[in-house]
Symmetry: D2
């Protein structure tokens, strides 16, 4: 490659970037009009144009736009300070309204207006997805994201969501999305999914009226006789279909958030509890609502504690003693390891935060490659006892106490000596 060619390429790339940037500037101009008085009469048309312009932006243009949103659509610190002083002096309705006007970033109104256009909500979810990705390189975008997520939380308020049962009569276009989105136990095509939608399995998803074909989150449930110890029988495509009316236990064995653009807008808690209520009403024989959940951070943590070599001992052919040691470590990990005010394990954080109880550890419950890689195949059951959920949640939040079965607590306590020993090895994490 000659210097000429290299220079041409760089120049071309710069030109492309400049074009993207110019487009982003043009869009920023439209957005300013959109939130001005002038934008009121033609709000719908302008909003449509803004969405179209955004959709047409390339990567450089979007980065430039995000930057402008961060810098130029933020509250004016002087104005905020003046309003805060005035509110402090006389905290009445008028000074409060002025304060709110001053403190609300203009980009919030930008997003509200863009949302008015057909396809606006979908475009904003896409924008959020890219904003999240762009944050790594530009910390100022955190504030933009904060504003957008604030609105999304309000718009995707549970009161606006529709719970739909997904079954084999659901349109293929939606089923296809479940197959693509499923994040816990991969779905191998339509025939696999079909077994998961038979009458002894259930699937429910939340939808928003403005995105009627886009599942936001979905949960898969198996209706069983008892709390399961392994996941393979649940996932098997060849298992006989059981009579759901005889099931005593509803097992949430997979829960997947579908929209990256809705990260941090949480529906899972509502979904599980709503589904539990609905199933209980439909199937009075159900006594137990439990999960069969992965422990995605277990191996990482054990490896930190014991080093890669130590962790290597907990494979499928581990001895009974090694297995016992693993279970003790797992019990400790799930009940006593924290990251700030949350359980260290992300799945534990979700269920314990919802008020569930850690019921049982199941060795070699998921022998898939992924299961072994994450947690040596170990899975756990959380139990949702709707009567205890509030107390458990409060203990968890206020006292950093994890509700768990006595056997789990015993295992966790028994982990102490081994941890003590590991602590004196050079690999123990600081």
């Amino acid at each position: 490659m000659t210097a000429r060619v290299i220079i041409d390429r760089i120049m071309g790339s710069l030109a492309g970037r400049a074009r993207g940037t110019r487009r982003a500037d043009r869009l920023a101009g439209v957005l300013r009009t959109l939130i001005s008085e002038r934008g009121e009469a033609t709000g719908a048309a302008l909003a449509r144009r803004a969405v179209a312009l955004y959709v047409g932006l390339d990567a450089a243009g979007r980065a430039h736009l995000f930057d402008k949103l961060a810098r130029e659509f933020a509250p004016d610190p002087d104005a905020v300070l003046r309003a805060a002083v005035a509110y402090h002096a006389a905290p009445d309705a008028k000074s409060l309204a002025a304060l709110q006007r001053a403190a609300e970033p203009p980009r919030q109104e930008v997003f509200r207006r863009m949302n008015m256009a057909p396809g606006g909500t979908a475009a904003l979810l896409e924008l959020r997805r890219e904003l999240l990705a762009a944050q790594a390189g530009n910390p100022a975008l955190v504030a933009v994201d904060h504003d957008l997520v604030h609105l999304l939380q309000s718009w995707f308020n549970r009161g606006f969501l529709e719970l739909r049962r997904i079954d084999w009569n659901t349109p293929a276009s939606i089923l296809e999305k479940l197959i693509a989105y499923e994040a816990v136990h991969r779905i191998h095509g339509f025939p696999d999914l079909k077994r998961r939608l038979e009458r002894d399995r259930r699937c429910f998803a939340f939808f928003h009226p403005v995105l009627p074909d886009e599942p936001l989150i979905f949960v898969e449930v198996a209706l069983l006789d008892e709390i399961p110890r392994e996941v393979a029988p649940i996932l098997s495509m060849d298992s006989a279909v059981a009579d759901p009316r005889k099931a005593r236990c509803a097992v949430f064995y997979s829960i997947t958030s579908c929209q990256q653009g809705l990260k941090g807008v949480s529906f899972g808690n509502f979904l599980i509890k709503q589904v539990a209520e609905d199933l209980r009403a439909e199937l009075p024989n159900l006594r137990l609502f439990a999960t069969l959940s992965p422990v995605p951070g277990l191996r990482d943590w054990v490896t930190k504690v014991l080093g890669p070599e130590g962790a290597g001992e907990f494979g499928p052919e581990a001895s009974p003693e090694q297995r016992m040691t693993l279970e003790r470590f797992a019990a400790h990990y799930l009940t006593r390891e924290w990251s700030g005010s949350h359980a260290l394990d992300p799945v534990a954080r979700f269920h314990l935060g919802n008020g569930a109880r850690l019921e049982r550890l199941n060795w070699m419950a998921d022998a898939s490659g992924r299961g072994l890689a994450q947690s040596f195949g170990l899975m756990v059951n959380y139990v949702y006892d709707l009567g205890d959920v509030e107390r458990n949640h409060e203990d968890y939040v206020k006292r950093h106490h994890v509700a768990c079965a006595a056997a789990v607590e015993k295992l966790a306590r028994e982990a102490a000596p081994a941890l003590e020993k590991a602590r004196h090895t050079p690999t123990f994490p600081a």
Copy 2:
């Protein structure tokens, strides 16, 4: 009535009020839990309880609750000031987030949480309706209302609204509501409504997905050959049904906002423009989109200018000269009288703010009692020329200039001498 009885009644009433107050206190406690960390696990159940408690409150309880929302769920002025100072010192994402946390009244989160319950949105609309009524006696409630309307504007964002055509196949339960809500030209029962839904008439309404049976706003349209000069032929139940495909002019002859709880959340602009677009797509012969609108403030204003006696001359049997004088006054009133930055007449304010043009005055266009009482029977046509709407709106907002036909402008100018003369009479308003 003996003193005993009177005292008993007062005591009973006080006891009742005390009971209502206690209930409101209990609800306030629930609301505090609802927005605490603890409320997360059982958010749905708590929200349901809060809504149920609110619905069960009597008038005294509601007044007490509103007061608590105003006082106890407002931002802390000290915290706001600290956050504003910090943001002023270092306006970054973190300080901005802290500022927004400090400046957002906690009652906003209260309303968001209540909205999660089934029926929550409807309960909040009802709450808003009562809040508006209660403001007269308690100015502090303005701030509560400001917060609620802020959320309602976000939730009833045009992007979430569904435009539905209303016709004779619409459920009777919805048609019945149109009959009850209609605010411009009363609908006298189902047979009257049926004529307004024939194929040469149209009716469209916005709905929100969470209130699928509640029209938010609706507009009635007549498909005619030309811009009409009077309303009676449009309202007549006995008129022949015309072929809509031959119509050249779509006339918006009635537009009604249905929900008092959504006062200030405006959809009318979007509704008219969307309907105009849809009709144009369906019926390519349509050339003109106009209104036949009342002038609700005309008589009041004329009475202020000329005194009751002077105003009395513009009745149905007015002479041609008197009629001319009235039209001049009306033209002046609609194009030159302002209340702050808005046209004085509320209907003019709506259409001119939307970017419409004042096209024509029609003497004795509405001979109904109400028409005579409001405006001596005079009605006007506004024209929506979609190409001019943005410019008209901008002239109106920035330059206080009203777009109008040359004939109307001429009438307005001719009003000057008469106004000058009236100004020297004692009845002219200050």
Copy 3:
């Protein structure tokens, strides 16, 4: 009017008739093509043309067409006889098929083909309605009607009908039809109908998928504490709405067949029993399924027996003795008077034929003009006891025995002396 004018008119009328006749001849030609081999390729288009031609025929044309259908689209007697002889000689599949081909009137295939066109079914119902009217003047049409009703019975087979609940959420266009069709207790506009659709009232209708907006038959039900003695409280618009879950008795107080073109195709039996089953499933407290029914033929029969003067004594101010006499006559009339193998009273015929039991006579249960005119205001209750329905029906059909309560049977027996006496008066019917 001069002779010239009269002659012109007659000639004009004849010319009009001739034109109608020519059009009917043209349609008959199309129908012949339609059922020929040639019609197969273009069946849909030809059927559409046939339906359009039929719809365009005037009265004279239709009469002419009916006549042609009777004469020219009937089985050939020679061919039938040959086929019958062959079948008699060798009753196998082939000879049977040949027999059926010969015996089936070609007009049946005409109707089947016309039914293929969009709107074909509706056109055939209209044709049937007119055919029924035309039969009086042309007995040959009975055979045409017989063929059409044979097909309609097959097409409107209960398996194809859809039972829909009618309530206040039903489209106004359908509710309007119920108001127009109601044949038993007139509905005075939408507000009246609304009360009949509240939750302590029910309304159900059968629809056919091809006529989704046309109720075929509907029944109105009141959910009450006990079997009612009069109809006015049920029809009252001002009555309080009761809790349907507490009702013990479902009362069918009105049943109306909507389509004259379906006369003789009976759905009522299925409708009542299906509704009874569905209500029982929804409201487990329901114990009794009964009617409050008119006795439309009572006054006519009593008048025949006693003469107009004798019948005149049973008005609203009848003495207790007269009232008792009337009830005896009514009991006799309903349980012992037959027309061929059916009860003489048409409503009794319907309910007794369905297997219901005559439970009670209610004096002055319908004080409306119509009620007094038909039956001196007397109404009766039939009870549907689903366990007895088959036996009752069989007794009725095979043994001409009417299932009734002991009290009714006693009244009927007590009628004998009065009847004996009346028999010796000159007015007793032969």
Copy 4:
């Protein structure tokens, strides 16, 4: 196996058969009641019982039932003869009604009554399917089948069918059926089907309201630039999706009847013409409606004419001369070989009977194993020219003339010498 065991088995089998027979006898009893007067009151319940009993019958029971339907539910030859004589003597409405009563097999009423039960129609389709299979062993069943098909033709009248577009939003449960039913070009799972439902492909099916989840017949259409010469590009899953609005030619490349129980009830003609009309309305650029069709009987016929050895020469590597010979034979076969009054080839029979024109022969258009096996890979295009359809159909039916392009006619004429030659070989079919 000892003699004892053998005897036990036979006895067991006989006992099973006897049990099945007894159940069939019981069902026959129910059916007799069902069509008696007594069955009227409890028709719905009895019909339900009959359907349930039928569904529960084993093979022996069904065979026995069919036999009873043939023998005991047939018209009485004596009664038929009497009625025919009477009708011959006086062919009026009364004698005709009596004739029809006598000539109609009672099993028709049996089927009508069974159809009233929920699931009745589906059960009758199943019954028909088995009846068809059983006919081989019992020719008397032909008459039963004749009666059932007569009713099915009436019930599945085109006027009652609903045309639905099938696309990727269709429920998976229905798509799965298309995959299973497809009879022409196998669908390899959902991803394969998805390509066939993209916007440059179309799929339409007829449904009956009473079987809303069961496609009766479906057609697959490709929207192309011109009439295609081979099927592989149409079936390819990897092809780019084209803009349907630019297509000039709609190609029906697969049409499948789904219900064996509806054999002989033909919808294909209606389906193709309706789809052609609808597509023309939606896509005004479409100029041509054609098929790409197999010639399923070609190899068999060629083999008969030339012997297996002669036929063996027309494989994929045939020389240009051999290919020309094959095309001549194919042209002759499709235009001049008849079975009674129908074209010998079943697909030709369908399209020519519908009035289509044979447009072109395409050598090696279907190189699949099946394509080679049936027709040496040769496929043909039929063209539906809606203006010519009626005339073509008439020529076909009345004059045994096949509408075809001049080039095809030329090929057919050129086949004569080769056929003449073949006729003098011993393998030529008699």
